[in-house]
Amino acid sequence: MSQLSILLDIAIFLLTTAITWMAFHLYMLFRKPRYLQFSTGFLCISIGYFFVAIINVFTYPNIHTTGIEQLALANVLRSLWFIPILVGLTILTILYYNINERRLQLLFVTLLIAGFTLGGFTEVAFFTASSILFFFIALKLYHHHRTEPDQSSLLILTGFSLLFISKLFSGILFIHEGLYIGYYIFKLAGVGLITHSTWVISR
């Protein structure tokens, strides 16, 4: 199962990189500032997942079996992917909610960083912050879809929602091992749907 998780994280890294490239390419052609913001958000998420993949493939199995120094190293390594993913999700949330006021944007980022730093870069702090941001992005996509229904946006909305559900599963995995199956199914389906939609768009 952990190999499947690593493969899915690599798939998310490749997917977010493809979306970043496509959005930036379209920004260079059509100069819409929202595309630059969108590609920056996805670039951060992509960098985060790059570290997730690298850490999981090369170091994580060793870190679990060793002492305090390695745990400190694990914290540093975690911040390598916690921070870019949270910054990316924050940029996307600011974009989708049209928060154009600079001071509000700053307040948003400061609150997130303060909460996260005080939380001590823990998995729980990351899980809570990223789930909240994920939920609000999915909610906005749902509202957009309700006002202007469209097949590709429905697929992307469904993909985001499935990823959000898989995130919720990841928070309760400690209850029962069987929940891993739900976690992987939702994650796989979410990544698959967004990949399919992105492929359809790029044709």
Partner: protein, 86 residues
Amino acid sequence: MRRTRIDIICSILTALEKGSMKPTPLLSKANLPHPLFKKYIAELEAAGLVNKILSAKSTTYELTDEGTQYVREYHRFLKFSAGFRL
């Protein structure tokens, strides 16, 4: 909503997507006043996106290969905007 420069350029190029056109139907399809149309069509010619074909009777415009490629990217841009709600 006020159209941007890119919106205007794309409205001219997509109007030419189905084939060459004379200036009057083209400016009407792109919904542009004549002075603006002249300005933009000259820009598009200079950028190599549109060809001006002069004949004894009339003038027509058509897309170049680069223009066709640009329109293809514009459709991708519209699909991306619709999909990700940008």
